[in-house]
């Protein structure tokens, strides 16, 4: 096998993985703040792409204006989702929460289908389509956008969670809700915050990936699933570990398809995921916790 082939696999894997990472962080943020696995996370990704399309084509906005509009509407739907589905729940057992987020995702998908139809749509790339050669492999300008924006978001996340009071409050909340309440942090507000951040991040992921993969009302399902995997590999951390989780997953898929079998590439990714879970149930980087009663 040639070096440029391997390089191409790696580059493709990294850019797909970056998307998984963004979605995965969205999962983790909500999970840490609320203990909920939000199965509707993938739908925010879909909304990002579809809303951009709406503002581009129906409202005839330029791309630079359509994107922030799409992000804000997707975020608003995240807020709505938390307010209408999560907050009023009378018996928030984990299993009920799973079902309600699944119900929510079906509902959002159904509404989008009615609104935009079942067709796949293309979104123009942010800056041209001329491939860029990287040592024998090639990438598109959009790939650079993906990597750049992912890095930016991760940096922004880091800044938010480590250097702002609200971010610190969210971390505190994730660690110990009761103690957070005792220093005056409004826990419900933090939950809402977590939905805002993760729906915004999900929609950004959906927007930056759409020019490459196109978008349709049902793209959220698979992307959501892969993002969930990334979060699990990263041990549900909302930082670097999940990013690595996403990248690992993306590269594994890409190498699996190129080197082993394109038909079984998803199976390979999932088998590795299972092995990771069996051997290190706390995620790739998590510290083992002594069991407490």
């Amino acid at each position: 096998m040639q070096f440029d082939q391997l390089l191409q696999y790696l580059l493709s894997g990294l850019s797909t993985g970056a998307i998984y990472a963004l979605i995965g962080i969205g999962f983790s943020i909500i999970y840490n703040a609320t203990g909920i696995i939000n199965f509707a996370q993938g739908e925010f990704v879909m909304l990002g792409g579809m809303l951009t399309l709406l503002f581009l084509e129906t409202c005839k906005l330029p791309l630079w204006a359509a994107i922030p509009c799409a992000i804000s509407v997707a975020t608003a739907s995240g807020i709505l989702f938390e307010r209408l589905a999560i907050r009023p729940l009378r018996q928030p057992t984990p299993i009920n929460l799973v079902i309600i987020t699944i119900g929510g995702s079906i509902l959002i998908r159904g509404l989008s289908m009615l609104l935009w139809g079942k067709d796949t749509h293309a979104i123009p790339p942010f800056s041209g389509e001329e491939p860029i050669a990287v040592g024998g492999a090639t990438i598109l300008p959009q790939h650079l956008w993906i990597l750049g924006i992912t890095l930016l978001i991760i940096a922004a996340n880091k800044f938010f969670f480590y250097y702002t009071v609200s971010g610190k409050a969210m971390r505190a909340c994730a660690y110990n809700r009761r103690a957070a309440g005792l220093v005056g942090i409004d826990v419900r507000r933090m939950v809402l915050f977590s939905f805002i951040i993760s729906s915004a991040m999900g929609s950004v992921a959906g927007i930056i990936v759409a020019p490459l993969t196109m978008t349709a009302y049902d793209v959220g399902v698979m992307l959501g699933l892969k993002g969930f995997c990334a979060a699990i590999i990263g041990g549900m951390s909302s930082g670097g570990a999940t990013v690595v989780g996403g990248l690992v997953l993306g590269v594994l898929e890409s190498l699996g398809a190129g080197l082993i079998s394109s038909g079984y590439k998803d199976a390979i990714a999932f088998i590795i995921l299972l092995l990771i879970l069996f051997i290190r149930p706390q995620g790739l980087f998590g510290k083992a916790q002594s069991e407490r009663v």
Binding site: M1, Q5, A122, V221
Partner: protein, 381 residues
């Protein structure tokens, strides 16, 4: 506890008994339609349902068939074989249809076939799989061109250009695996060698890995078998990788949509297609031209988008049934017999000639080879 349960059971029974039961309008001929209007095969089911409804409305507007109205009952199978079987049963039992059009995908069709055979109801499938009518089944017909023909059309061209090393990249669903089977089965006949065989999943978003691998193998041609959006992603990925190898697609993407999705990357891509795509540039001598132009125009008027050959499958099916009814068929058995006698019907998918040993009815002239040039389709001579 017991009381609770009894109450719940009673509720359930009441709801069961109040299930909607419909009665045929007096004198109307009722036919059924099973289309995958939602789910992964919605790109097939939606135009199919639209076309079928459109043509039924037109027939009724023109006074029906021998004074009788045509009534179409359609259900959405969501691309699910189990649902397709249930709904076929529903059409036969509850709606008492004399014939069924659809389902949209090969998998669903294969699942529904035993039902139609057992209940002795003619079924005109709108899916491409060759297994549907080969081996021949008494009650089963189809309007979609066999993928054999599509494969044959591509291979013929390759043979002409003396291109022999072919890499195939197929989607891992019913459509792709059927195409893959045909590609592999027919290669030898045309002196073609399949040098690599890769697949991708319907929801995959990046196929550069497969293409990178193929690039290393250096085939003469890449044939990709899939339906939107996969092939558009592949076209873009191929452009990104700077692949200079000719790329052929299947008739699964023969619609304007593909060019919209793939953009510049679509330039130069070739594929076999039903004639509907190039209706306006067909020579006037083409027997199908009249039907094609009518269909395209009507569809555009009704649904504001271009009619494609998927919708054409349902259009053909309704028209074939219309022919049978016009010849006096009233019962399922008579409809079947009349269908089998159809000759020289110039539809959207091609010119149909059914017989007691052929329920697919189309020849290879049903396909033309087209190429994308300047964001439009041109016929490859």
């Amino acid at each position: 506890m017991k009381k609770r349960f009894v109450v719940a059971c009673c509720l359930l029974c009441i709801s069961l008994l109040s299930a909607p039961v419909s009665f045929a309008a007096a004198g109307a001929i009722r036919i059924g339609g099973l289309f995958a209007v939602t789910g992964p095969a919605a790109f097939l089911g939606e135009p199919e349902r639209n076309s079928a409804k459109m043509v039924v409305d037109e027939i009724n507007a023109a006074g029906g068939i021998k004074g009788r109205k045509l009534e179409l009952v359609t259900y959405d199978t969501a691309g699910d074989a189990t649902k397709a079987v249930q709904l076929a049963t529903k059409l036969i039992r509850d709606d008492k249809v004399v014939a069924i059009i659809g389902p949209s995908t090969t998998g669903e069709s294969m699942a529904v076939i035993p039902v139609a055979e057992k209940e002795q109801i003619p079924l005109i499938s709108c899916s491409a799989g060759i297994k549907i009518t080969d081996p021949l089944k008494k009650w089963i017909f189809k309007t979609a061109q066999n993928d054999t023909l599509a494969v044959g059309r591509i291979f013929e061209q390759l043979q002409k250009q003396k291109l022999t090393k072919v890499s195939i990249l197929t989607v891992s669903d019913g459509f792709g695996s059927s195409g893959r089977e045909q590609l592999k089965a027919q290669a030898a006949t045309f002196g073609i060698a399949i040098v690599s065989d890769d697949t991708y999943s319907p929801k995959d978003t990046d196929m550069t890995s497969q293409l990178t691998k193929i690039r290393g193998i250096k085939p003469d041609v890449i044939i990709c078998w899939g339906t939107n959006p996969g092939p558009a992603v592949i076209a873009k990925n191929a452009k990104q990788l700077g692949l200079k190898i000719p790329l052929y697609m299947s008739h699964g993407v023969s619609s304007k949509k593909f060019i919209d999705l793939a953009g510049d990357a679509a330039e130069g891509i070739r594929l076999p297609s039903g004639k509907v795509l190039v209706a306006d540039v067909l020579p006037a001598s083409d027997p199908q031209k009249k039907s094609l132009l009518a269909f395209v125009k009507d569809y555009q008027n009704h649904f504001k988008t271009e009619g494609d050959h998927f919708g054409g499958h349902a259009w053909d099916a309704v028209m074939l049934l219309k022919g049978a009814f016009e010849n006096g068929a009233n019962t399922p058995a008579a409809v079947r017999d009349q269908l089998e006698k159809t000759k020289q019907f110039h539809g959207i998918g091609g010119t149909f000639n059914y017989s007691s040993h052929d329920h697919a009815g189309l020849g290879k002239e049903a396909f033309v080879l087209v190429e994308v040039k300047n964001k439009d389709w041109v016929i490859v001579k």
